[in-house]
Amino acid sequence: MATAPWAEAVAIRVGSIVAAFITGAVFLAATGHDPWRAYREMTNGAFGSLFAVEQTLIKAIPLMLTGLGVTLAFTMGLWNIGAEGQLVVGALGASWLALSAPHLPAAVMLPGIVLLGLAGGAMWALIPAVLRAFAGMNEIISTLMLNYVALLWVDYLVFGVWADPAAFSFPYSRVFPTSAHLPTLFGDVHLGLVLALAATAGLAVLLSRTHWGYEIRTVGTSPAAARYAGMPVRRNILVVMAISGALSGLAGMGEVSGVIHRIQQGLSPGYGFTAIIVAWVAQLRPWAVVIVAVLFAALLNGGFVIQMTGVPAAIAYMLQALILTFVLGSEYLLRRLRRRRAVATTRAALAGSP
């Protein structure tokens, strides 16, 4: 009779994204900007030319990787809000190799950088994981606090031992040797895109097709049942957080080695925070993360471009948070519809019985 439930769910989610843009338009108009023009410029800035598309894809890479990392942790019910810090420490690991062993050949340097990026992120995520697994400490605050600590380590290093001697007191290191630049695929889009898509495929298979993925989902939805079934909750916390952090670390590696080719203050415009929204709007589904990451990268890029017309770039962050807010609110509608359908089915069944 009515539309299929999945179509309804998709329609409601798309509807909430549209509602977020309408709210954003009202806000733009209220602050004296022309919303129609702002959105058009943003779309142009994100997709209007080959260059724009490349820039959007480049920004989508760290959003995919951090979004996947956060997705894995959230699936197990672990509130890893520390993707930003994990990204940064991954970047620190990669930078350490590039800056301290600049004469390594690319064949050694590149795998080394990738490994150190993964290891840096994993290590930073293991701190809250150990605190949670062995001391029962809530990970929301610990992962958040570690974000600030990680960002300050970057400051410490780029103003200190890693400061570019040629650049007086600018907050960045010297440029990496070319052997430490990630190869590009097309235009300026670097190899990180392949790594991100591979990670997506891996995570999708892990979560939906393996026993371990089933375990992770069970711990996430009903921890008590997982313990009762003898699943190793403590070990899963450590492993899941390590992988989650490693994915964010890989994103950080991609930024320093594939995009800016040095380490600097403000190396991430908050990718690790946006990742939380990406994961949630994608409903913790790996391939949906890819799509949402591209959409959100387009917003970031569009926001960056419309600064020139006098609209603050922060409009991108506002729109992202609004999208999440409306998606969260729309869950209510979905629940109502589901319940109404259940009631209708029961009524029909009762009417059918003699």
């Binding site: 029962g136 610990s142 603050p312 999440l324």
Partner: protein, 307 residues
């Protein structure tokens, strides 16, 4: 450190603690009613920018503080609508609010960067009390908002633990079903607590841009809102313990700024990590020591009457 420097440090700790008291008490109110609001950081930022804008436009410091309060309350009303009425998951909704506030404040605050506050709150010695030896210099030569923070902690403690509406608030956070049966309007109570709590978070942000700094810079809260969340756990949802905790954190913060003035050779950047590391450490100790610590039993749980 000579005694004089210690007194200065403690006075700075009291000033640094004030925003944590505002935001922390606000969160105690919300959480005692059963609603977790992790959006403090965002509400603080919006309060900071709204208060600062009002100071520039109206030139009235108290009106600016009231605007900061109202802005925080308005943000929190959105949280209440989503979590109390629509039953949205509270952790994620709070994160959304934090991120929204960060974006909104950066958007609105663009024209106010680099402008001095025309009417900052300045230190005023309280007559009599300000002349007390030591205590006077620590507590009673502060700005007016710091005095408000003392009063707030005391009133909040009294109101929550000693009055009937306070009892109703706690009932909503312990067992909304029982509160409902007692005739308490759970929805209205939760809305009230969340909005009042958000207002206080807004005021905490306003304190930064109107008295402490006093200017507007993007992301000027630097994680204080999250430290306030940790502080509420540390204080086991008790306003008086929260007051003590806020000064402890304030002292660590103030120490970070002042160690170098005392002639200790350390990197100022590493010292800025202190409040975050201290928060981690304190939370760890709390978790280890008080495994069975008090937590509002219905914290984070949506209550729908028909269910």
């Amino acid at each position: 450190m000579n005694p004089d420097q210690i007194v200065l440090l403690l006075a700075a700790a009291v000033a640094s603690g004030a925003p944590l008291i505002f935001a922390g008490i606000g969160e105690v109110l919300a959480e005692r009613s059963g609603v977790l609001n992790l959006g403090i950081e965002g509400m603080m930022l919006v309060g900071a920018v709204a208060g600062f804008a009002a100071a520039v436009v109206t030139g009235n410091a108290w009106l600016a503080a009231a605007t900061a309060l109202a802005a925080g309350g308005l943000m929190a009303a959105g949280h209440a609508l989503l979590t109390v009425t629509l039953g949205a998951e509270q952790v994620t909704t709070g994160l959304a609010l934090a991120l929204f506030g960060t974006g909104l404040s950066a958007f609105v605050g663009k024209p106010f960067i680099g402008i001095p506050n025309p009417v900052p709150f300045r230190a005023v010695a309280l007559p009599g009390l300000g002349d007390l030896p030591v205590l006077g210099r620590i507590f009673f030569r502060q700005d007016a908002l710091v005095y408000v923070s003392y009063a707030l902690a005391l009133v909040a403690w009294w109101w929550i633990t000693r009055t009937r509406p306070g009892l109703h608030l706690r009932a909503c956070g312990e067992s909304p079903e029982a509160a409902d049966a007692m005739g308490v309007n759970v929805t209205a109570t939760r809305y009230g607590a969340v909005i009042a709590g958000g207002g206080l978070a807004g005021l905490a942000g306003g304190y930064l841009s109107l008295a402490y700094t006093p200017a507007w810079t993007e992301n000027m809260t630097g994680g204080l809102g999250w430290i306030a969340v940790a502080l509420v756990i540390f204080a086991t949802w008790n306003p008086l313990r929260l007051l003590a905790g806020a000064y402890l954190f304030g002292a660590v913060d103030a120490l970070g700024f002042r160690v170098q003035l005392l002639g200790v050779e350390t990197s100022s950047i590493l010292l800025r990590m202190l409040p975050y590391l201290f928060t981690l450490m304190v939370l760890l100790v709390i978790t280890l020591v008080r495994r069975q610590a008090y937590v509002p039993a219905a914290l984070g749980r949506t209550y729908f009457r028909e269910e």
